[in-house]
């Protein structure tokens, strides 16, 4: 006879209320699992989806994602000449915020050599890749743009010729791909007042250095370096080339930092994602602990409520395992039902969630296993109390 289920049937309201409450907490845990993995997936998406073997960045820098990195535009030419390098391409990226489709949206712009260079969009779900040197863009569908849509960035309007799905930066913001010159123009473009101020400052410097005003005016354009830098150079190795040797060569002879894709990934996980992951992990652990404590308290209260029945069971000769099983089954029933409802709630939450949620079956199973273990733990206090209850408690009025 299943005493636990019969007791649950009698206290159905209390069980349903507990299951609802715990399920809400657990659904948050499950969604946080999704945020946690989504955070990692977003964080490394661009690294994983940029078809390159090596990332060459500014010396002593951990760029281009964790730290800013600036390199001369033409540095890719000397890198391309390194033994073992099949192709080297300039690469630029920066975060921007603009009005798109009537709402203020944050996105990251990627600039790349659109004529066969590395770093372009991997999989275009609609349309085509950029084929013109200027004024075309590939945008992620998260921005709400469609083919033929036009976006004004700086002084020019750019036409969407291709749409990607799930192309995001490390913060989960959608990506826009532009040709390198367009990306640089948008990135370094200054307004007229800023340009005038820079010119005036440079002019004064030249005059202080002893150049007559007429000569200083002629030298001014040479001081402007805007648009001459990129953030990284992407390298594709020649077949059979040793990545370590090529990286060492670039480091030693060209004075840049070089990371393989795996190292760049590690930089991201250990850097920008570490704190976020730690916070999410802490919250997940806390919420699970709270859920287990709630289940423990409910199971304990339910046990105390039937302590006279437990004493009677002992008196009429019920073995201890009957009592232990009753309490543990109730605890596990609460845990399993709560998890099932939480899983259903998660499925309801996912479609409208504003961030990328990535669920791993193994992690969901691990959460379930932890909760099951918690359910067993939760029943221990009640079991301890029940086993200490003397059978003679059943006697008397």
């Amino acid at each position: 006879m299943d005493l636990a289920l019969k007791d649950i049937r009698r206290h159905l309201g209390k069980f349903v209320a507990t299951i609802t409450g715990v399920a809400m907490l657990l659904s948050i845990v499950l969604v946080m699992n999704g945020i946690y993995q989504g955070n990692i997936a977003d964080g490394v998406w661009l690294i994983d989806n940029t078809a390159t073997d090596l990332w060459v960045v500014e010396r002593e820098r951990g760029g281009p994602f964790n730290e800013s990195s600036r390199m001369p535009l033409d540095s890719y030419k000397s890198i391309a000449a390194t033994p073992g390098v099949a192709q080297a391409s300039p690469f630029a990226l920066y975060t921007a915020q603009r009005d798109i489709g009537g709402t203020r949206q944050q996105f990251t712009t990627v600039g790349y050599d659109v004529f066969g260079g590395l770093g372009g969009p991997g999989r275009i779900v609609r349309g085509r890749a950029i084929a013109a040197p200027h004024y075309e863009m590939v945008a992620d569908q998260k921005l709400g743009l469609d083919l033929g849509g036009r976006v004004v960035l700086g002084t020019h309007a750019y036409t969407v010729v291709g749409v990607t799905r799930g192309a995001v930066d490390s913060a989960g913001n959608p990506l826009i791909y532009l040709s390198l010159p367009d990306a640089q123009e948008v990135q370094y473009q200054q307004d007229n007042r800023a340009l005038a101020a820079a010119r005036s400052t440079n002019l004064k410097r030249l005059e202080r250095a002893g150049y007559p005003p007429e000569q200083a005016s002629r030298l001014l354009p040479l001081l402007s370096t805007a648009g001459d830098t990129v953030n990284a150079v992407l390298v594709r190795l020649a077949p059979g080339a040793d990545a370590t040797a090529v990286a060492a060569h670039i480091r030693d002879w060209l004075y840049f930092n070089v990371y393989t894709t795996d190292e760049e990934r590690e930089l991201m996980l250990a850097g920008r994602l570490r704190m976020m992951s730690a916070v999410l992990g802490l919250f997940r652990a806390l919420l699970m602990a709270v859920s287990i404590v709630i289940i423990a308290l409910i199971v304990y209260v339910l046990t105390i409520e039937k302590i006279r029945s437990i004493a009677t069971l002992k008196l009429i000769g019920a073995p201890n395992w009957v009592i232990v099983r009753m309490i543990m089954e109730q605890s596990l029933a609460l845990t399993i039902a709560s998890f099932a409802v939480a899983y259903g709630l998660r499925e309801l939450i996912v479609p409208g969630f504003p961030r990328t949620l990535t669920f791993l079956a193994g992690e969901t199973a691990a959460t379930f296993a932890v909760m099951l273990a918690g359910g067993v733990l939760a029943s221990l206090m009640a079991i301890w109390h029940a086993l200490r209850t003397p059978p003679q408690l059943a006697l008397g009025g």
């Binding site: 006879m1 005493l3 019969k6 007791d7 049937r9 009698r10 206290h11 039937k306 006279r308 029945s309 009677t312 069971l313 002992k314 008196l315 009429i316 000769g317 019920a318 073995p319 009957v322 003397p390 059978p391 003679q392 059943a394 006697l395 008397g396 009025g397």
Partner: protein
């Protein structure tokens, strides 16, 4: 042949100068078919004797034999006490103590299932037993929906579920009015006679005294007197 033999059973709580002698050595026996009462004021040792007989509390000294098997001889005899209780002793309580989330039939069947009976077999036998107790029509009711008398009948059914030869009842009529109490006493007598069980009832309910065969008087922890009632004399029981 006696179902229960109690020989010099005593109970002392605590040790040294703090020791409290709750029960002085008591010797008596109860036959199958006999309805006996332990009568005495509060604190006289009735419940202590009941707990000692059922081995819920381990006696300090003495010997207890049930169904011819020695279950205590100045110390445990290696009997699995809880299993032995389940198989041989039925309990009836003042407050009935039915499991509140089980129906009347399930309360009775539970004891059989604990003793190894299959679910269907236990359910069938429980229904038969409730029929014997004239309460089969309430088999599916939860205890909360039964009257006090009905609950006590179900509790009696539970005490008989494993055909226990010894039934111990703790104030079974205290919570009932005279009419219902009388019916319970009649039922206990019927059980003793028809099932040849020894029924021992702790009581200080003097309304029901005449219904017993033998009355053991307890006072201040001592078994002071044994009375054979008219009913007992008709049954031809000797005092012993």
């Amino acid at each position: 042949m006696p179902v229960l033999e109690v020989d010099g059973v005593s109970m002392t709580f605590g040790q040294g100068e703090h020791a409290v002698r709750a029960l002085k050595p008591a010797t008596f026996s109860v036959d199958g078919g006999e309805l006996a009462a332990l009568l005495g004021p509060s604190g006289s040792g009735k419940s202590t004797l009941l707990l000692a007989i059922s081995l819920i509390l381990e006696p300090t000294t003495g010997r207890i034999s049930l169904n011819g098997r020695e279950v205590y001889d100045n110390g445990p005899t290696g009997v699995d006490v809880r299993a032995f209780r389940r198989q041989n002793i039925g309990f009836i309580f003042q407050q009935h103590n039915l499991i509140p989330f089980l129906t009347a039939q399930e309360n009775v069947a539970l004891v059989m299932q604990l003793n190894g009976a299959g679910r269907r077999q236990a359910a069938r036998r429980a229904t038969e037993l409730l029929g014997f107790l004239e309460i089969a029509h309430r088999a599916d009711a939860l205890p909360a929906n039964l009257s006090g008398g009905e609950q006590q009948r179900v509790a009696i059914g539970r005490a008989l579920a494993n055909e226990q030869r010894l039934v111990l009842a703790d104030e079974p009529t205290a919570a009932l009015d005279t009419e219902r109490g009388g019916k319970v006493m009649a039922l206990l007598r019927r059980i003793a006679r028809e099932r040849r069980s020894a029924v021992i009832t702790v009581t200080h309910d003097r309304r029901m005294i005449e219904g017993f065969d033998t009355i053991y008087h307890l006072d201040d922890g001592s078994l002071t007197a044994v009375t054979r009632t008219e009913e007992g004399r008709r049954e031809g029981r000797a005092i012993g």
